[in-house]
Symmetry: C2
DNA sequence: CATATAGTTCAACGATGGTTGAAGTATATC
DNA sequence: GATATACTTCAACCATCGTTGAACTATATG
């Protein structure tokens, strides 16, 4: 069992930023699971799907297991825990309540021209 | 007032997938606003910041306004409405409750080998 | 009108990464 | 053991895009 490091927020966004990979992810959300099923629905080659699934798997978002009856078939599924964690993280990051008012540290309002004139002359 | 098309989910993920652009976005969440302030805090050139701000602006996530006293200064801010909309959209998309159980459309369980043998011979 | 400042746009470079076809692996069947 | 199947890995190509430096724009000041 390899322990994977927690990816950065930017890395997670990048993971989901590719349309093909996002489509695969969305299909898994709908319960579709084996490689060939995804290929049929998205009309993509298996090696390409495998490539994207690997990325999703390495990020911990997706799990794999082999069929008990025929181990050639592999079933992919969303990792519920990781998804919930990601969902919370994004919701916190994008929460509109986090938006603060302006904190002026530069600009004309900090040093009005009138003040300078009075002091300097 | 230019009407901007609603970007795809993948496009939005891509927008936030660059570490520099994400850092700029996060600073704006904290209320920092003019280009030079961002440059000071992230130690980046103004043209680079301008480039990323343009991308955020074109996606509708960020607003600009010129200073009333000195129009050379431009203040950037998060578009609250768009952020709230995005937040809702992502929360819906990544909702763990959306995950469905397996919907088997292929695999060995659909056509057991025993059935074929009986019928074929 | 000349100079300075805040910021944008442009052109070019270079790295990242998605896509493709072919070879390779693992498991099952005959 | 040979062949078929489900899938993975590899190498190479190519487009996208973040970065950089320089030129350009807009506004303000003297």
């Amino acid at each position: 069992m390899t322990k994977t490091k927690k990816p950065t927020l930017a890395a997670t966004f990048k993971l989901l930023s590719d349309p093909t990979r996002l489509a695969i992810f969305d299909l898994l959300m709908q319960g579709v699971q084996c490689n060939c099923e995804i290929g049929d629905q998205l009309d993509l080659e298996m090696n390409l799907i495998s490539h994207h699934l690997k990325a999703l798997r390495e990020a911990g978002l997706v799990n794999v297991e082999r069929d008990a009856l025929d181990a050639r078939w592999m079933y992919y599924s969303i990792n519920r825990e990781m998804l919930a964690e990601l969902n919370d993280q994004l919701a916190a990051f994008l929460d509109p309540h986090r938006i603060q008012p302006r904190l002026p540290t530069c600009g004309p309002r900090l040093v009005p021209a009138t003040d300078i004139r009075v002091r300097g002359n």
